[in-house]
Symmetry: C2
């Protein structure tokens, strides 16, 4: 694992009820000693609401409108077309990519922002197959993957003459064989919140001669990722969850420096050309990560993301991980103490080494329970058929929020048959 396991396992939810007042004291003490407490002020949050859906859509920062006003009013409105150079629009995908790179252990020049995660999965998988030695014609995909990765992997396999095989993420390294070109794995499972062992799986894939493509949607910004150190080949991720870039903010693509000269994109749009304004009829790829660019980037969404990343100024990802584990431990403890026994079961592993930054609880009538939670100001989400998802986002979530959410959940489950 990238992070040490230093804390004891969380309390088992079935361990029984505790004194409610003691939990209030615990929450207050944990918030008082939280080194990230002040970062919460950088976000525009709804008063009285506990927002535990930042693993789906992070909230806006307080400064985003100021930036958008400047982008629309001055850069677009006054400078117009000249902003492509004069306001740095043209190079924003690489510049913002480097900012994200700093959060996922990538040295500059390896991350480029743009397009959706799905489109980047397609680029990464096709490029990986093209890098593979002759005779390797199999793509492996994490069997529990977020669906779009699987759909796109199927298309990439079809279009490159490969076969596709779904394998549980934990065993995907062992499953790779001499025909395997590449495996696509989710770092954290979107449904269960399970964290997979990126260094071990990557090493096993490499030992089998296969490339590793990681989907970081549910890990970047929530826990340490060490792409360079762990030898990851390619990676993709979205920016609207733990990076708070805004609804549908552009995704990113990591291409390890050593592989960039061999990165042969299936979407060689003019933005990735060595001389884009030469308007040459023949394609000649640029050097570096910008080889992963395609068409003109959606600048308003892209620069809103740039502004959102300011929330990370001075924040250490190690502190984020420590708080994330403490928050999810405490939430599980509160759920164990307050919720009627037997009503929920954690799908998320208790072991820190296997836990992302969310808690997924299996619960009867989960859809109805989530609607009741939201009606009472505790916003998580529901994944069919029976999972309540609660995302814990250390930049703005308090321990008191975790306790409050558990308390409201307990109230709702007490009140239903």
């Amino acid at each position: 694992m990238s992070e040490p396991v230093t804390q004891p396992p969380a309390a088992d939810p079935a361990a029984g009820r505790q004194d409610a007042a003691a939990l209030d004291g615990r929450a207050a003490a944990l918030d008082a000693q939280d080194p990230l407490a002040a970062v919460r002020d950088r976000f525009d949050l709804v008063t009285g609401e506990v927002y535990l859906d930042g693993n789906s859509l992070g909230p806006p920062t307080t400064r985003i409108m100021e930036r958008l006003s400047d982008v629309v009013g001055r850069e677009w409105g006054r400078m117009g077309i000249r902003s492509w150079d004069g306001s740095g629009w043209w190079t924003a995908p690489e510049r913002i990519g480097d900012r994200i790179g700093a959060l996922v252990g990538a040295a500059p020049g390896q991350v480029v922002v743009g397009d959706s995660t799905s489109v980047n999965v397609f680029k990464a998988l096709v490029a990986a197959v093209r890098m593979a030695p002759d005779g390797r014609d199999e793509i492996l995909v994490d069997a529990a993957t977020f669906p779009t990765d699987g759909y796109i992997a199927e298309s990439a396999a079809r279009m490159t003459g490969c076969t596709l095989r779904a394998v549980p993420a934990g065993g995907i390294g062992a499953a790779a064989g001499e025909r395997t070109a590449v495996a696509l794995v989710n770092h954290v499972d979107y449904r269960s919140g399970r964290l997979h062992d990126l260094p071990a799986v990557t090493a096993a894939l490499h030992a089998a001669g296969a490339l590793a493509v990681w989907d970081l949607c549910h890990s970047a910004g929530a826990l340490p990722v060490a792409l360079d150190a762990d030898g990851v080949d390619l990676a993709v991720g979205c920016t609207y969850k733990y990076l708070n870039g805004g609804p549908g903010s552009p995704a990113y693509l990591y291409v390890r420096g050593a592989l960039q000269p061999r990165f042969d994109s299936p979407l060689p749009g003019w933005n990735s050309h060595a001389d884009p304004f030469g308007m040459a009829p023949a394609y000649a790829p640029a050097e570096g990560a910008l080889r992963g660019r395609v068409g003109t980037p959606e600048i308003l969404s892209l620069l809103a993301l740039d502004s959102a990343l300011d929330a990370w100024d001075g924040v250490e990802v190690g502190d984020v991980r420590a708080k994330s584990l403490a928050l999810t431990d405490f939430f599980l403890e509160c759920v164990g103490a307050l919720v009627p026994p037997g009503r929920v079961e954690s799908v998320t592993p208790l072991a820190h080494a296997e836990r992302g930054s969310q808690v997924s609880l299996r619960c009867q009538d989960a859809g109805e329970v989530m609607r009741a939670l939201i009606a009472r100001g505790v916003v998580g989400d529901h994944r069919r058929p029976d999972v309540l998802r609660f995302g814990f986002t250390p930049l703005y979530t308090r321990f008191a929020d975790a306790l409050h959410a558990a308390r409201v959940l307990a109230d709702i489950l007490e009140g239903t048959p």
Copy 2:
């Protein structure tokens, strides 16, 4: 042609100089009788500047910041994740697609907004090849195409086992043979401003048994397009030129209704799934144009576009075309009257049936001349090596602007050896 040719050909720029005062009177009279004159007030324009680069990046409307404030502050900030349903974010690509459809002659349900033009070219070409009868394995591309279309067409050909052949747009219908699956053609040439005969080329392609994919980047919003009436199969276009959606605002894809059941996307992301929140491991495409969706749309850029389209309220595309031709006629006339003989030559056809909404002038030292124009507040652009491009966007460009631009150009060319 979609539009009647009712006006006489423009004056030849070489025809000699006219009385400058007479031109002022003509401009004033033309502006006074312009039915679109009041639409200019819907745009946030730079005082004292003549912006003739709307064929590259349209200016913001005056109401866009109000909409973005609401999207960020209320929809994202207050409603958060609930806005995917509650604020109509999820269905925005189809809803805004229908608004664009109304401007390009497409009945509702056939246009979907999202991704870049390049990515949409890839979807359209691969899907077209997959629709073609067995044995058709050739893609034709407009030889003078905007480069990205050619690069992407090459990738689509490579990934579908097709060959790619470049043919001048005017002859592409005649060049199609029994092996031709599809042809990709630009409606208006980005460099010369030449308008191609969409109905005739489409009919010729169909007669050869091939599908027609049109790139509308330089025609949508500038002149009438009749996709349904002319039997176009697929089309793509950007929204940041004549539709004023903002820098890099999302592109669109048209899929003719009758072809939608056979539209087999190479980018089958979860947004195009029949039941996206079912999270099924197997892909099952949705019905309709939304089959062309891929991943999560960039909502801020998408809704800025939605707001920008309000500028079209009550505007008839026929009036836009009439004014566009009158503006480019008048600009050519002013250039002919004012610019020293022999210094510029129009690359844009004089015949209305062959003219888009820009004027491209071949000129020695074009890069230097354009820098001088911009320094004096006349903003066009330069295409290497020797072309000055002036875009005439009828929603906000005045006849007085056309005269002023010609006058400044004449001054600059008088002053240089």
